[in-house]
Each structure stands twice: as C-alpha cells, then as structure tokens.
C-alpha cells in the first residue's frame, strides 16, 4: 500500500475529515433531491456506466450467506434509469401521479478507497419512508453499497449502487420510488 493511499484510507475512516465530510454531504444532497422530486437533477449525479441494482433476498440459514439472489427488483443502467425519470415527468405515471411523499435517511456511512483511481467504496444504512395518498407508511430499510467516482472536473458521481433490502417480501404497493 502506497503512503498516499494509506493516508487517504486513514482520512476516509475518520468522520470529521474533509473527504469524509464531502462524501456525506454528497449523500445528503442526493437524498434531498429525491425527497424534493427533483429526479432529473438526481439522475445527473450518476456516471454514464452506472449499474443500479436491488437483488431479491431470500430467507436462508446463516451458513448459506445473506440470501441475496441473482434475480433483482431493479437492474438498471443509465439509459433505463433515464426512462424511469422521464416517466415520472409525464402526467400519467399513475403509480406516482399524484406523487408519493418520501423521506430518505442515510446513516452509518463508512468509506474506503475503492479499486479504481479516484473511486470510493461507500457502505451505509438507509431508511426510506413512503407516504402515499391517505395510506399508512410504507417502510424500506437496508444497506447500500455505492461506488463514488471523482471525475476530472472534480465532481463526484455514483458509478455503482447495490441496494440490499432487509425484506424478503416487500410490503409495499410497488417499487415506483428510487433508493
């Protein structure tokens, strides 16, 4: 491990440092865009080679692993995420017209240098609440594994997102919101 990488890892692992603070702020601003229904602005945070995936989870014994399967609830690239965003901008995406009210909470953020240059591997816990019409809350919890990449311009972008939900049976109308 080079001295530079070691220094960065040390810095990243310490909440309160500038880089850690920048990453957490990025994640908070992202959540704010989603909760403000600013989906086009949200889409602009993603790298063109994004892989956005939410695997289906099965209940199994600990010895068999965490239960995440190859079949997913989401398996999107930039093009299909863009279609999802465009769809929400029509007046007839009935699952979100009128829109759900969501609240994205992120916490337990840990960061480390990732494989690629300028890439950071982020893990965090999330709670997403969804209030829809006159119904009670729909609740989603889980862990997220993000790869953030610093582009030449200095801008951070999301290059990979793996959404690891706690539920094996999703207790929600549908998954017409983003995570």
């Amino acid at each position: 491990m080079s001295a530079a990488v070691a220094t960065q890892e040390l810095e990243l692992s310490r909440p309160g440092t500038a880089l850690y603070g920048e990453i957490v702020e990025f994640l908070y601003r992202e959540a704010d865009l989603l909760d403000s229904n600013r989906f086009s602005d949200w889409l602009a945070l993603f790298a063109e080679d994004i892989h956005y995936i939410m695997p289906v989870r099965s209940t199994q014994f600990l010895s068999g692993g965490a239960g995440f399967q190859e079949v997913s609830f989401f398996d999107d690239n930039f093009q299909s995420l863009r279609t999802r965003v465009r769809r929400l901008e029509t007046d007839s995406a009935w699952a979100e017209t009128p829109p759900s009210r969501t609240r994205h909470f992120v916490s337990n953020v840990l960061a480390a240098p990732a494989g690629g240059a300028g890439e950071y591997a982020i893990t965090l816990n999330f709670i997403v609440t969804r209030s829809r019409g006159d119904q009670g809350y729909q609740l989603f919890t889980g862990r997220r594994e993000d790869t953030l990449r610093r582009e030449a311009s200095g801008q951070l972008r999301i290059a990979r997102r793996r959404i690891l939900v706690d539920q094996t049976v999703i207790t929600a109308t549908n998954l017409s919101i983003f995570f």
Binding site: M54, V56, S58, T59, Q60, F61, G64, G67, Q69, E70, V71, S72, F73, F74, D75, D76, Q79, S80, R82, T83, R84, R86, R87, T90, S92, A93, W94, A95, E96, T97, Q135, T168, V169, I170, T171, A172, T173, N174, L175, S176
Partner: protein
Amino acid sequence: MSTIFRELGNPPGPASSFTRLANGQQLEDIVRPAEGIVSRRIFADPEVFAMEQERIFGRAWFFIGHESEIPRRGDVITRQCGIDPVLLLRDEAGVVRAFLNSCRHRGMRLCRTDRDNVRLFRCPYHGWSYSTNGALLAAAGEHHYGEGELDRDALGLIPVARLGIYHGLVFGTWDPNAPSLDEWLGDMRWYMDIIFGRTGEIEFVGVPQVWEVDCSWKFATDNFTDNFHVFYAHQSLVELGMLPTDPDFACHGNMVTLRNGHILHFVQGAPDDAYQGLGLPKALWPRFAQNLTPTQAKIAQTHGYSAGTMWPNFHWLQLITAGDMEAPPVGILNLRLEIPITATRTRMFSWFAIDKDASPEYRKLSYETYVRTFGPGGIFDQDDMENWEECTAAARGPEAKRHTLHHKMGLHRAPDKTWPGPGIAYKDSYGEMTHREWYAEWLRCMSRPLADRTARVIR
C-alpha cells in the same frame, strides 16, 4: 336466454342458504356473470373472503412451483397450495412431492427458509423428524410414550391430496375428490403447450419477486386477461413512445374461454419480425414445428402477445416490449400468482422464465427487459398495482357494496368460429368475456356444496 348465458352455464338455482350472505343477499343475485354484473361486495368483504376459504382455496387446483426450481434430490422450497403453507420438494428418489409445512405433533412450521437442500426435516420444536417422502422417522422422547400412544405410521407429513405436473408446472389440490389435473386443465393444455412447450422446455430463472399489495386478490387476478386497460393504465409509456398511440393497438387478436374458468388471449403485434413468433429470436422459430401441432405452431408464429389464467390465480404473460425508451423490443415470459392474505391484502409472486435453449445473449436481454418493465419495480406493472389498491379501497364501504361493476364489453358478440383452437373464441381482444367466464367459475365454485370432509377432523 342469450347464447352467452348458455355458454357460461350455471343459471341461478333455487335460493340456498349456502350462498346467502348475512344481509340476506344471495351470491347468485349479486354476481351475474352472464349479464356482465359483479357486485362490489365480493371484493373487500371479510364475509365473502371467509366463504372463499373452503370453497375455493380448500379444493381448487393451485400452482405451487416449477420443477426447475427444485432440480436436485433433497431440494425444497416453501410455498402455498391455495393459502396453506407447503413444502415443495424432490425426495431422495427424485419424486416431486408437496406437504403441508407443519409438524404432525404441535403444528410447528417445519421448513422456515425459502429454499434448502435437505436429507430430512427435523422440527425445531420437539425434534420430530421426517424423511423427504414425508414418513415420520422419529419422535422426541419415544421411550416416554406408552403402548399405542404413538402410531408412527399414521403420523407422516400431511400430503397435498393430489399433485400434478404439466410442462414442469407443479399444481396441487387439497381435495381428494378433485378431478385429475388433466381433466381440470382440459383444453387449457393445448394453449399451455404453445407457451411452455414451443421450443422444448421452459425454465423458471432463480427466485420469484414477492411483495404484498393492499388489494383484493380478485382485482389483481382479473387484470391479466384485460387488454384494453393497457393504453390507459400505462399511458405514461404511450407518452414516452414505448406503446403505440392508437388506443386500439392491442385489440388485434382473439380471446378464448374454456371449461373450468380458464381464459386467455392471443394478440398480433406490428407487422414486423420483432413482433412475430411470440417475440422469440428467429433462430428458435423452427422449433415451433418440431414441438407443436401445425395449428399450434401457426398461432405461435403469427402472434406476439398472450396472457392466460389457469383458474383461479395463476397466469402467464407472454409479451414483447422494450426495456426502456431507447432499447429494442424483446420477448419476455412472466408467470404470476396471487395468494390472498386477507380480503384486502394479497401476496404477489412474479417469476421470469425463459426457453431452455435460448442463447445466453437473448436470456440476458429478455431478463433485463423483464425486470425493467414487470414485477414491482417494472415501469409497466407499477401502475397496475396502483389500480388494484384503489379499486379495493373504494369497495369497502356500505354504499359501494350496494353497487355493481360493469363487465359488459362484448356481451352480445358472437363467437368466432374461424379460430382454429379449442374453446369458445371471440375476435377482437378488447372485451370482458374472459372476466365474465372467470366470475362464472367463481360463482360455480362458491355455490358447489362442500363434501363432508370439511366438517370432519382428519386424524
């Protein structure tokens, strides 16, 4: 009496207490499929749901799982047969079996994971253990039982009364007097051959997506052979250019109703190779002639879309769609099952399936297209669940329950005698003849007396 009335059969008989609701109404008066009238009362009402328990879920045939989900000996998955929890497994001899997922001792759920590979089942509560063929191997503390207190031979797992397999699809019923699966499916098998046998074998890929929606299982179920909602319910995709702008675009085909409530349609796509042959790659088209009769092969070749309901709650959707605004159209095969939890809550299962001989490239493309468009995250499917919940929410109150739903489209349409397949066919796949036939079977099932086994305690 109209033609349609005779076709649907089951004219209301003398009023019977068996079909009488607490408010004095008779089911046969408030559900009149031959007239296209279905009361809103039957959807969100706990009384009707309680009646459905034995009459439908206690004795119809139900889809449990596909053989490809349990390929190895000892493979087990936990599912439902009707609404009862079952183990579906391949035993040590390779035989597919299904048992109530419950220990014979105190009723503990035996298998508590979604899938496993086992040599035997051992109850976590008192350690009773069973072989994969259901036989009780050992109870706990056997030397504490006195003479005649533990009849091990009579204490095997409770089997699904009848099990049947067609094209790898495993169905079960709790009714030992039920007709055989072959009799039950009847002519539906001819159409299932086209969907599940067109290129050889179909396999279910991985696990189902499972989620729970606050809706009546019947609103979800009756959506699957409904073609004319597509333009309106999925309007956002018309706006995005992913569906045609002609509201009649999905009407070019036939609807078919069969005995026992099985219903389906086949619809033609655009006159373009991408929309022929059920959306399968051209390389697989020659398989149709090898695996199907000439008539079946022609239907597969000349249609793009099909949906079918194996009564009451299992469906195929064979579709052609792009996964996003810029992607090419691709064929997908989606299987769906609705299991009610309460009158107003339903557990949805959605599987992706593929022709076993499909190329890896097509398999990947078809899967990605499926997951982007169908299932709970799919840009098509999302809007359907919204409709099912809202229909259910609006059916709860006393005033709503005094009114009916309107299922009259095509009520007087004459059957299409030129359709080459079995069943009663109608040209123009915009119509509610499939709905009427589904509710006619529902009424028949709700009106058929229960055998005395329901009252008997089975030891």
